[in-house]
Symmetry: C2
Subunit: 428 residues, 2 copies
């Protein structure tokens, strides 16, 4: 057996603690699989005294992750998060000859190409399986398993907190704010939930998946991002009525107009793969030339699944597997044009809350027709003169800019009493 | 860029032709991903003159795959199938210093450990992603992506022909023989369908997945195998009534009694991951310690998906990735005890066709109760004295041997007019 792979783990939260425990628990199995042991030699976090379920004094302790990165280790495991000290530590590790494994989506989405170039120049590996969909080995699938394919689309449910909230809203009929508060009390949502429910976390992951799928420079600023805060139980109920379910999706596709990357609530048809991904689970669908449609589903977050992903990256390094971070040399990553979302064609769910009086429906229908948006089906329910009623419309395929133009015209005409709701319908 | 990886492709059927075409089509992309080109230099098949959609005279032609294996190549790609000349050629390739990529399930299931040992001793790679579930990168997931986990169970729909037939039977209500004949006419089933519908193909794949999941010597003889030939529309309809669907599953689990590996029709609950895998698709569910439940779904057969898997194996070799064929050194593969299936506990669907006369139900109920098999629910339909009626029973958890004992006693008592039907119900 070769000599151990010596690692330093910076950040001992849920994931960091999970990694240390998983390596201890399955040490022999992992050694058999790698032909060498993976040995934690240094660790570090903000608070040394916190109980993490293992004895910290078996390891060298580092207050400063940059010092841990520079210490006598083979691999630096960055589980701190964010782009501050974590970025400094990763750069220091690469500068001092250490491979890097990270779960840091924000860092890879924003600085991944630059870090990949630094790693390559030094002949080092930068792995980030845990940064995309936790326990689902989707980075490996895109970078290796589907390596012979031209991938044309990758789409997924990439945030377990949002999926949990939407699932609960559907099952209980309760509004977003209620379910979020409960999720926070149960520890399923952060005290500051913005990054999750606002779609930012999904956008980070999507930027990474798009880069792997299409060989493009990660472009987080190019990801259109909309969260689930405005999803209401009434839309969830209507979705079901139309045989659909609302999910927060990240979707990236290479189109003739450039890279289309968008995160938003979407209606997906019941019975299709992503519609059945419920609760905290994540799911990813890829479309590729030879393999066709592939679906991956599993736990996207939490100590076990994320540690599983981090350890798989370590196993690859221990086995001597070296490949560029994004599957192609960083110099070959293309800066993709951003496809204008307004040009996209799709079908749309529209809900207009209106006063039930004559002329309103005509205004709506005319505004849509004027822009060439035709109606596939319509529901108007609860007629009661001069009270608020909902008019729900499913469009035929239409240009997004035309639909948005029609909505604006309808609002401007004073036809609605609440801001209209538009939800994209996706065929996956 | 490094020098090309030179390969020889033996067997130019659906898969072999697909590999040659995929390497040509995506040659530049693959070269960017590998840092070198993958170049077909030699090919061979039984008939040189057949139209395969590409010009064979660009390549050196070999009548005999053993000669191709021994020729001046880096990797031998074996797409002939079976254990005859294919096995000879693979052995020759390994003996003459060639890496091997194969899609040959029968060969790997029967001789995988031996071939892995030969490859390891020579410092060569033996890859077989295409042998397990076609386009689904499940070998990579088990060998690498879930490498930090103790896997406890792997289960899947591994044969697209069977899944297509069962889907058609459910959708049209037609009997097995009819749907099979149509599938043959459409080219979805072989002229001799035995290996597919009899479960043998699924058993080969399951033996390979079990070996990867549990680090055991592939044990094809230890896989309990039952096909779908006796599934009738009436059972499919009853399954739906109980909120289930019938699938041909391969299931392998490591139990305290040894390795349990079984292929048989099973009822899976609607809404669970494998229940929704329809038509020719394949699906695999893994249970592992840290990652939890993971689901993989995609196309399991056909030129594109299988070629995609073969090419991913070639890309790994081109990138210099070397690891033992089954993820651990072949010397470390354990010969697992076979768990006796009779000891397994589960719930069962039982259908007894009986003459509608007094005493029959009592006989059935007593035979089950005598062996401690209790009834969760029962349907008896179409009462018409002295005519054939079906009594359908779902059991509570029961020992399989007890259920089979009860069925035999019921038959022996002359209570039934047709052989009873027993289908295992699976919670996945």
């Amino acid at each position: 057996m070769s000599k151990p792979l010596r690692i330093g783990v910076a950040g001992l939260g849920t994931v960091g603690g999970g990694v240390v425990r998983l390596l201890a628990e399955n040490g022999d199995l992992i050694a058999a699989r790698c032909g060498r042991r993976i040995e934690v030699v240094g660790i570090g976090a903000r608070d040394r005294t916190k109980d993490r379920g293992f004895a910290v004094d078996k390891f060298a302790w580092f207050e400063n992750p940059v010092d841990l990165a520079a210490s006598d280790i083979d691999v630096f495991v960055e589980l701190i998060g964010g782009e501050g000290i974590a970025a400094d530590a990763v750069r220091k590790a690469l500068a001092t000859g250490k491979h890097v494994v990270t779960a840091n989506k924000a860092l890879i989405a924003a600085q991944g190409a630059e870090l990949a170039a630094q790693a390559e120049a030094a002949g080092l590996t930068l792995n980030f399986e845990a940064a995309a969909a936790g326990g689902i080995p989707i980075v490996k699938a895109l970078r290796e398993g589907l390596g012979g394919n031209v991938v044309t689309r990758v789409a997924g449910i990439l945030n377990g907190t949002c999926n949990y909230i939407l699932t609960q809203m559907e099952e209980t009929g309760r509004p977003f704010a209620d379910v979020l508060a409960e999720a926070q009390a149960l520890g399923y949502a952060e005290a500051d939930p913005t990054l999750d429910v606002g779609g930012g976390d999904t956008a980070h992951k999507l930027a990474i998946l798009a880069s792997l799928a299409f060989g493009t420079v990660p472009d987080i600023a190019g990801v259109y991002t909309q969260g689930i805060e405005r999803i209401s139980p009434v839309d969830i109920a209507f979705a079901n009525e139309f045989g659909h379910r609302i999910k927060l999706l990240g979707i990236a596709a290479m189109t003739p107009r450039g890279l289309e990357a968008r995160v938003h609530p979407a209606m997906v048809q019941l019975g299709t793969a992503l519609a059945d991904v419920m609760g905290v689970l994540n799911g990813v669908v890829t479309e590729s030339g030879a393999a066709g449609t592939s679906v991956f589903e599993g736990r996207g977050a939490g100590a076990g699944p994320t540690a599983s992903a981090v350890v798989s990256d370590l196993i690859d390094i221990a086995r001597g597997f070296r490949l560029p971070a994004f599957g192609v040399p960083s110099g070959a990553l293309v800066k993709a044009d951003r496809a204008p979302l307004g040009e996209r064609e799709g079908t749309f769910y529209l809900r207009f809350d209106v006063l039930d009086k004559s002329g309103v429906l005509a205004t709506i229908a005319r505004s849509l027709a004027d822009r060439g948006v035709s109606i596939e089906s319509m529901i108007q329910r609860g007629r009661s003169p001069d009270e608020k009623v909902a008019i729900v419309i499913i469009t035929h395929d239409a240009r997004e800019a035309d639909v948005i133009g029609a909505i604006k015209a309808i609002e401007a005409a004073g036809a609605v009493v609440e801001p209209p709701c538009m939800i994209r319908m996706e065929r996956l």
